[in-house]
Structures are given as structure tokens and as C-alpha cells.
């Protein structure tokens, strides 16, 4: 195995980390609105429920988001050709993802700063938009890459609408959005108790069938169009894990195992996409010879060697302290745990 192969695996692993962790963050943000609606109709209860859901990811979502920063930087360092071609080629979709992610960070962090219903309303719109948009668009982006982009002989892409807006890419977008919503609902089930827990379980239960159908459709299309004998394994793992998750949600047992199962589904789908891609990084629809591969888009052996040491030493450390964070905040929370708003009133000057 060469370093290029190793870095293809590391890159896939970083995206697995991002989608598994940020996936449930997106899911919680996507469903937050519904936690509000599911309450007994009183705005105060609804607000407590929304806050309980949001606070399940409160201490961890910021650290989770670093996985995409690191994945992007690792792509830059290990496969600069891919980074340059892909990021300039998918310019407008990435712009939309960035807008979503910027709005989401500010909306989550600033939501509680001002104790005012109108303020929270705007923050909730920001959280919803900032979660739905990237959840759909990351799926569209990855499906479009696997489908192939018009890479020319100079490794430039002149993107046309059909490259990203086509049935397969759109199905990919719906699949990731559905998967993250399901993953998020199962996460909130695991992290809460009381009414919020029951709501989360109900959302998860309702999502089981549609999400399984959509993800299966996307997985089978992917396998049939781009797969090979080995990728069947990833698809198989995804299907078994998804069916286990469905069964655990239906039987209302073992929230922790259900969450582990949805995490495996997300990971297996990412592995499926990357293993279908291999050894390409961006297949060219114009001429297969112009495709970016792990060989023609990679960094020099020295850079890959340096980065290998850094990744092998530091990634386990990161996983240790991030894992510890989840342990520190392992306690389930309920609406009763949510204190009065920490925010200041909208008006009012110095006293």
C-alpha cells in the first residue's frame, strides 16, 4: 500500500468523522422546530422542549464541526489537485453550504443571548436553514462527484446545472438529509428523558420507513452504477445497520445501540461512496484519462510522509478528548433541566 492509498483512507475517515458527528448535529437542528410543535401547545413548554433538544448537542457541536475543517485541510495537504479542482468547480454549491454553516454557528451561539421570542424566532430560522441546507447539499455534492464532473485536460471544471441537478445527485441529497434527521432523532432519544425523549422517539419511529427506503434506493443505485464486488460489503453493512436501527427504534429498547447503529449506517454510506470512487478522486465525464486520481492529484511523498505522522499521532488524541467530552456530558437531560433563559432582555441599559 502506498501513501496515496493510505491518505485516501485517512481522507475518507475524516469525512466519516464529520458526517457521523456533525450528522446528528444537523439532524437535531433540522428537527428542532418539530420539538417545539410536538409540545402541548403552550409556547413556554414548546420553548423548553426546543432548548432541551438544542442542548443535547450544546457542548459538542463546535468540536464536531472541526472535522470538516480538518477534512478540507487534509485534502488540501494530501490531494491539492483535488482540493483546487473540486472547490473551484463546485463554487456555487459550496457557497450555499458556507452560508448555511455560517448562519448556523451564529444562530446556535447567539440564540440564548437575548431573552425575547422574536429574537429566538429568527435564531430558529437560522438553525433550521443552516442545518437543512448543508444536510441536503453535502449529499448532492458527494453524489455529483461520484457521478463524475466535466474535468478537462487542465483539470478545470466548467460546471453546468445538470452536473449537480440530476436525479441521482438529488436522491443523494435527500438521502443524506433523511439519514441525518433519523440519526439526530435517535441521538436526542438517547440524550433526553421525559416528554422530549418521547417526542424524539416518535420522530425516529416515523422516519424509519421513509429513510430506509430512500437510503436503500440511493445505496442500490450507487452500487449498481458505480460499485464493484468489494463495495457490496459497505452496502451490506449499511443495510444491516439500518435494519438493526429500525428494529431497535420500533421495539423501544437500547437507545445507545440504536444510536450506534445509525452511526454505523452513516459511516458505511460514506465508505460506500469513497470505495466506489477509488482510485479516482474526481472522475471526468469528458474523458476518463482526465480524471483526478489518487496518483495524479496527490502531494509529494515527503509531504504525505510528514502528514501521515501528524495524522497518526494526533487523530487518536483528538478522539480521546472528544470521547471524554461525551462522557462528561453523558447525563440525559429533560425539559426540567433547562434553566430560565440565560439571555438579557432586548432593551434595558446599565443599571
Amino acid at each position: 500500500m502506498t501513501l496515496q492509498h493510505l491518505w485516501f483512507i485517512i481522507l475518507a475517515a475524516l469525512f466519516v468523522g464529520f458526517f457521523v458527528l456533525e450528522g446528528f448535529d444537523f439532524g437535531v437542528g433540522m428537527l428542532m422546530e418539530f420539538f417545539g410543535r410536538a409540545a402541548d401547545g403552550a409556547e413556554e413548554t414548546a420553548e423548553q422542549h426546543r432548548r432541551a433538544a438544542l442542548n443535547t448537542i450544546g457542548p459538542v457541536w463546535d468540536g464536531n464541526e472541526v472535522w470538516i475543517i480538518t477534512a478540507g485541510a487534509a485534502m488540501f495537504a494530501a490531494f491539492p489537485g483535488m482540493y483546487a479542482t473540486l472547490f473551484s468547480g463546485l463554487y456555487l454549491p459550496l457557497l450555499a453550504i458556507l452560508v448555511g454553516m455560517i448562519v448556523r454557528v451564529c444562530a446556535i451561539e447567539w440564540r440564548g443571548k437575548i431573552d425575547d421570542p422574536q429574537w429566538r424566532r429568527w435564531a430558529d430560522i437560522g438553525i433550521a436553514m443552516g442545518s437543512w441546507l448543508p444536510a441536503v447539499l453535502w449529499g448532492v455534492a458527494f453524489a455529483s462527484i461520484l457521478r463524475g464532473l466535466p474535468v478537462d485536460a487542465h483539470h478545470q471544471i466548467q460546471l453546468s446545472a445538470g452536473d449537480v441537478l440530476n436525479p441521482y445527485s438529488l436522491l443523494g441529497g435527500i438521502a443524506t438529509a433523511g439519514l441525518f434527521a433519523f440519526h439526530g432523532a435517535v441521538f436526542v432519544t438517547l440524550k433526553t428523558e421525559g416528554a422530549v425523549h418521547d417526542d424524539a422517539r416518535r420522530f425516529a419511529t416515523r422516519l424509519t420507513v421513509p429513510v430506509t427506503v430512500i437510503v436503500a434506493a440511493f445505496g442500490i443505485w450507487t452500487q449498481m452504477a458505480y460499485g464493484n464486488d468489494v463495495t457490496w460489503i459497505a452496502l451490506g453493512v449499511a443495510v444491516v445497520a439500518q435494519l438493526s436501527a429500525v428494529r431497535l427504534v420500533w421495539t423501544r429498547r437500547a437507545d445507545g445501540w440504536a444510536f450506534a447503529a445509525t452511526a454505523v449506517v452513516v459511516a458505511a454510506v460514506v465508505v460506500l461512496l469513497f470505495s466506489c470512487l477509488y482510485p479516482n478522486l474526481i472522475p471526468s465525464t469528458l474523458n476518463p484519462a482526465w480524471s483526478l486520481t489518487i496518483h495524479n492529484a496527490s502531494s509529494s511523498p515527503y509531504t504525505l510522509k510528514v502528514m501521515t505522522w501528524a495524522a497518526l499521532l494526533l487523530t487518536p488524541l483528538v478522539m480521546c478528548y472528544q470521547g471524554w467530552t461525551y462522557w462528561v456530558f453523558r447525563q440525559r437531560i429533560s425539559a426540567a433541566h433547562i434553566p430560565a433563559s440565560i439571555g438579557l432582555s432586548r432593551n434595558g441599559g446599565p443599571h
Partner: protein, 482 residues
């Protein structure tokens, strides 16, 4: 404007914006750690309240810094893809190291710090903010190492086969003398920014509260801490800036000649304080006020016998070396941003000295002009930081990777070679989107910072809650929740 100009405007706007927020994060994290340490060691609740008060301002700012930071990493590939292709083998490594060795730390431990006040033992919780402080500064180190490669490429060579720069030594890359100088200078500026922020807000509150318990126990000590740190930081800026300047006279003589509007090669030229020009080039420069001996000292630590090359002569030299082209940076911008960076330092310096004098021997100043002085001083270090980066980046133009005079002569790239092949219209869409979104978020950021500053340290932050033992079953409300 063509796609290159629009892309440059976008990079300039998003980067200057990002770096208004970041210095406060870099500088305030260690100051918060110091405040919390004083509380943990002395048990004095005033320092707990101060930690909470400045902690809230820190977090409002941190959020926007993180949000705008994502754009920074993405737009190298989005707008500067040919640059990314050319330097990725070298430039990607420090960015990836930043993620792995710094950004993960700060983002994970900030969550533990925000939510962990009653979940973690007191010393472990204190360690969290110190780790955040370490993380933000380590981030700065890696990012500036990357930037310094563009200023002074070392640890790499140009590979004609692949047509790109390739890393030969990560150690040389990370110990680039330009990088060490720029990192210490930038951190000095960040600490000055945060110390001035703490000092100005505390002094404003001290004057407002008058001779009260709060002034005596919180605002006066915090103002004095801020002022003392600001003075040390200002002194370090002088030293590190001088070191960096001397490197630049050798590494990028064109940048320093522009900063001085030195058009023709001279021996022992005077330092220009005020220059008037009707054209933004050497055709109509009138030096109005000049000071002798300063410039030779800045360049070579000597008062005499220093020969400095002028813009016109360097231009001829570069044409001979790199082919036809205009190698002169924007004279007006480099000249004035350099003076702005240095000149604005006077505000925090004077303010710190004044405040320390007025608070000597237990005094609580009540002069209203001091609070106005505080408010005027507050934004100055932010502007100086921006001016410094505008100077160093604009002064490097038209290069995106400036050639190292003693390094590989083929390792250089102009801005025009580095830009992505987009149509101007495409880049306009993102420029307008980012500018509008950033403007909206800036308005909210400012309003929130102002609102929380005017509220002051909260009464209910007077006493910290005792840590809850892990695994307890009672439904105690969380100490912090969004």
C-alpha cells in the same frame, strides 16, 4: 473589474473581517485564563464575576470568528485554485496541522468550558480555558507559518516536472524566520487588542460606578491588569515589529521601499512622516515631513552608511529578472497602512499610562473624560491589526508567493497566475453574498457586545454554584444552557 479584481476584493473583505474578530479571541483567551486562575487561587468572587463578564463577550465574539473562519479555508480552493495547486504540497500541511493540533483543542475545550462550570472539578475546568488559550495561539502559529511561506518561501523547492512548489523540510517551513517574527508580532497585537478591550471597558465601568465596592474590587483591578498587559504588549510589538521590518528590508525590499515611498535608490534616506502625491505612483510624490537617521536604523540598526533601493530601480531589476510586468505594490495603501499600524499604537499606550497613573495607590478616578478616552481607544488596536495585515499583504503584490532572494529562484507566483478561472459574474455573486451576510452579522455582533457590556457583570454571577457530583439523580437545572 475582472474576476481577479473581484476575487481580491472578496479575499480582502472576508479576511480583514475575520481578523477583526480573531485577535480578540487570541488575546482574550489567555486573559480569561489569568482571571479565572486568580479566582481559583484567591477565592475572590470579584474575579469570578470578571471571568464570567468577559467570558460572555468572548463567546459572542468567538462564534463569529469560527463562522467566518470556515470561509477562509474554503476560499483558497474556491477562488485561488491555481494558487492552491501550485503551493498545496507545502501550504496544505500547516493548515492540516492547525486543524489537528490546534483547532480541535480549542473547539472541544471551549464546549467543556462553557457547559462544564458545575460538571467538572474546579481545576479541571480551569485547565479547559488554558487549553483553549493554548489552542487559539497554536492556531495562529500554524496559519502564520502558512502565510509566511507566501512572504518568504523556505523549506521547499520548485519542481519543474510537476510545475509546483514541493515541501523539502517541514522543520524549515515551521521555523521560517519571517514566520517567527510575524507570529510573535501578531500575538503581541492580539494581546494588546484584548488587554485594551479589558482595560477600556473596565475603566468605563469604573468611572460610571464611582467609588463603590464594585469599582474597588472588580473594575479597578481589571483596568490595571489590562493596562499593564497592554503596555508590555505594546513594547513587544516594537521589538518584534523591528525584527520583522529588518527581515522585510532584505526579503521584500519592494514592500519596504513602498512603505517609505522611496522612489529612487538612496544612501541614508530620511524617514517620511507625511507625503503627498496626486498619482498613486512615483511620478508626483512630495515628501512634506521627513526625519533623518530613522530609516537606516529600521533597516540595518545603523544611523549611517545604509543604501536602500528605491521603487523605480527595483522595478527595473524585477523586469530584468522576471520579465515584463508591473512589480510595484499600491503606493498609497502600503505607505498609509504602515503609518496607521504604528501611529494608532499611541492610543492604547497613552490610555494605559493615563489610567495607571489615575488609579495609583487605590484611587478610583471619576473623570468623565477618562470614560470617553476609553471608548475612543477601544477600537484603535483593532484598526491597527487590520492596517498591519493590509500593509503586509498589499505590500507583497503583485506576488502571491514572493520570491525568496536567497532561495529557489523559480519558486514564485503572481496573483494573476493564482486566481481560479471563474467569470467575474460568478465571483460577484459570492462577493455580494458574503458582504451582505457579513454586514448583517457584524451589526448583530456589535449590538450584542454593546448590550452585554452595558449590562455589566451580573449580580447572579457573584457566587459560583458548587459542582454537582457526577451521576446524581436530582433534576438540578443545568448551570448553562443555550
Amino acid at each position: 473589474m475582472d474576476a481577479l479584481d473581484v476575487s481580491r476584493w472578496q479575499f480582502g473583505i472576508t479576511t480583514v473581517y475575520h481578523f477583526i474578530l480573531v485577535p480578540l479571541t487570541i488575546g482574550l483567551a489567555p486573559l480569561l485564563a489569568v482571571m479565572q486562575t486568580i479566582w481559583v487561587v484567591t477565592g475572590n468572587p470579584a474575579w469570578y464575576r470578571l471571568t464570567k463578564f468577559f467570558g460572555k463577550l468572548f463567546l459572542i465574539n468567538f462564534a463569529l470568528g469560527v463562522a467566518t473562519g470556515i470561509v477562509q479555508e474554503f476560499q483558497f480552493g474556491m477562488n485561488w485554485s491555481e494558487y492552491s495547486r501550485f503551493v498545496g504540497d507545502v501550504f496544505g500541511a500547516p493548515l492540516a496541522l492547525e486543524g489537528l493540533a490546534a483547532f480541535f483543542f480549542e473547539s472541544t475545550f471551549i464546549g467543556l468550558w462553557i457547559f462544564g462550570w458545575t460538571k467538572l472539578p474546579r481545576l479541571v475546568h480551569l485547565a479547559c480555558i488554558w487549553i483553549v488559550a493554548f489552542g487559539v495561539n497554536a492556531s495562529a502559529f500554524f496559519i502564520i507559518s502558512a502565510n509566511s511561506f507566501m512572504q518568504h518561501p523556505v523549506g521547499a523547492h520548485y519542481n519543474p516536472e510537476t510545475g509546483r512548489a514541493e515541501l523539502t523540510s517541514i522543520w524549515e517551513l515551521l521555523t521560517n524566520n519571517t514566520g517567527i517574527a510575524a507570529f510573535t508580532h501578531t500575538v503581541g497585537g492580539a494581546i494588546l487588542t484584548a488587554a485594551t478591550f479589558v482595560a477600556a471597558i473596565s475603566a468605563w465601568w469604573m468611572v460610571r460606578s464611582g467609588n463603590t465596592e464594585e469599582s474597588r474590587t472588580m473594575f479597578r483591578p481589571a483596568a490595571m491588569l489590562g493596562c499593564a498587559v497592554a503596555l508590555v504588549a505594546a513594547a513587544s510589538l516594537g521589538l518584534t515589529g523591528d525584527f520583522q521590518g529588518k527581515l522585510m528590508f532584505v526579503q521584500q525590499p519592494m514592500k519596504m521601499a513602498s512603505a517609505e515611498s522611496l522612489c529612487h535608490t538612496e544612501t541614508d534616506p530620511d524617514f517620511s512622516v507625511l507625503t503627498i502625491g496626486t498619482h498613486n505612483n512615483c511620478d508626483s510624490v512630495t515628501h512634506v515631513i521627513e526625519v533623518p537617521y530613522v530609516l537606516p536604523f529600521l533597516a540595518e540598526s545603523k544611523f549611517e552608511g545604509v543604501r536602500l533601493e528605491g521603487v523605480q530601480d527595483l522595478q527595473k531589476e524585477y523586469v530584468a529578472k522576471y520579465g515584463p510586468g508591473d512589480y510595484r505594490p499600491n503606493l498609497f495603501v502600503t505607505y498609509w497602512s504602515f503609518r496607521m499600524m504604528i501611529g494608532l499604537l499611541a492610543f492604547p499606550g497613552l490610555f494605559a499610562l493615563t489610567t495607571l497613573w489615575l488609579t495609583r495607590k487605590g484611587r478610583i478616578p471619576t473623570q468623565r473624560w477618562l470614560s470617553i478616552f476609553a471608548l475612543v481607544t477601544l477600537p484603535m488596536p483593532f484598526l491597527a491589526n487590520s492596517a498591519g495585515w493590509v500593509f503586509t499583504e498589499m505590500g507583497r503584490q503583485p506576488w502571491v508567493v514572493a520570491a525568496n532572494p536567497t532561495g529557489d529562484p523559480n519558486l514564485h507566483l503572481t496573483i494573476r497566475q493564482g486566481v481560479s478561472a471563474h467569470s467575474a459574474g460568478t465571483v460577484w455573486i459570492s462577493l455580494i453574498t458574503f458582504t451582505a451576510l457579513y454586514a448583517l452579522l457584524a451589526a448583530i455582533w456589535f449590538w450584542l457586545i454593546r448590550r452585554y457590556t452595558l449590562e455589566g457583570p451580573l449580580e447572579h454571577d457573584a457566587e459560583p454554584a458548587p459542582p454537582t457530583p457526577p451521576g446524581s439523580d436530582d433534576v438540578a437545572p443545568l448551570s448553562f444552557a443555550y
